[in-house]
Symmetry: C2
Subunit: 214 residues, 2 copies
């Protein structure tokens, strides 16, 4: 019978996955070392600096093992993003945004996240590029990131069950968030511009927010 699980996958901690067989301690440790190395390398040179051989070496794991845990570089970086997002969500839960309106709170939340990314622009580059470059084979993981982001925004809005209209607004906000990050990361938009755009898109919330018409 099998010794360790067949295919080490994501933590499955949050919502979603069909819970692949649990990892042994050593496997959990390996996974953690890999993600750590990934974030570390990304923190230096961004996407390009995350080289699979280096990640393997840094995390004391054979190349083949790395690929068993994360079937591609993009998978690895998206998983790294999931990891960081969890931190962010925890932080936000401790100090929720304080604005009066939902739009203000969402804008504040996004700006806080943005400032966090500004501290590690290279890491942001690696994660965001991976996220938007991901093809269908990474869909489940990218979707998980998307769900996590949606949760964070809905939390900021303070909503229980959003209307379809509001969900669309939230999706648009996420679109803007990702794409604005990209333009900032590639040097085509200033920080101020990103700020303005995030505030602009958040106005959509006021537009859909005050319930349909009951």
């Amino acid at each position: 019978m099998p010794a360790e699980a067949k295919a080490p996958a994501s933590t499955a901690r949050a919502a979603g996955q069909p819970a692949s067989p649990p990892l042994t301690e050593r496997q959990e440790a390996r996974r953690r070392r890999i993600l750590h190395a990934s974030a570390q390398l990304a923190g230096r040179g961004g996407f390009d600096a995350v080289q699979m051989r280096e990640v393997a070496e840094s995390s004391q794991v054979a190349l083949g093992t790395l690929y068993r845990y994360f079937p591609s570089k993009v998978h690895l970086l998206v998983a790294t993003m999931q990891d960081q997002l969890e931190h962010m969500h925890d932080t936000l839960r401790k100090k929720p945004p304080a604005g009066q309106t939902a739009a203000e709170r969402v804008a504040e939340t996004l700006m806080r996240a943005f400032r966090a990314l500004q501290r590690e622009p290279q890491l942001a580059d690696a994660m965001v590029r991976a996220l938007t470059f991901a093809d269908r084979s990474v869909s489940p993981e990218v979707d998980q990131v998307s769900r996590q982001t949606t949760t964070i925004i809905l939390d900021a809005m303070g909503l229980e069950d959003p209307t379809p209209d509001q969900l669309s607004a939230v999706r648009v906000i996420e679109h803007t968030w990702h794409s604005a990050l990209i333009t900032w990361l590639s040097g085509r938009a200033s920080i101020a511009q990103v700020k303005v755009d995030l505030e602009t898109v958040c106005r959509l919330i006021d537009l859909t927010g005050p319930r349909e018409r009951d």
Copy 2:
């Protein structure tokens, strides 16, 4: 003295570039063959199917020459997108959108463009993935695409000189456009969802459109 131009670059037809030395006819023809081959290959397998060796062979050009014209695969695909965007803009000029409000016209324009992309989803995949994956070295070209897109949207709005507020709204619309395309292309959003999101974001125009308060 030089025989042909030093660095064959983009058409520089539209606005923007400092007009690199003009290309000879044969060079223009090569450039065109390359772009054609690129679009053709992209039309089949999408981003991955555009392999530089194949593009070179298809367009009857040496690999080194291909790289002289387009310094990377991403450059090539972004140029391909510029090309397609021009077509689109021409088409739109012939049959402008007919909606009553600016928001309607923009939404109609985007939906028309979206339908055009649906006819060649693989080509869309290649172009959009390249666009969002582009790093700083491609900024000028990506910026050109962005300007072209902005022009198309402003055209649809029928605006002469937009306010900063409106420009931000347009940027947000572009963000949504790109990011929504990505989610559709990677199979994480339905066509209907993209449609709704585009309509949602276009409402921002009504919010900023009817001049400040004058």
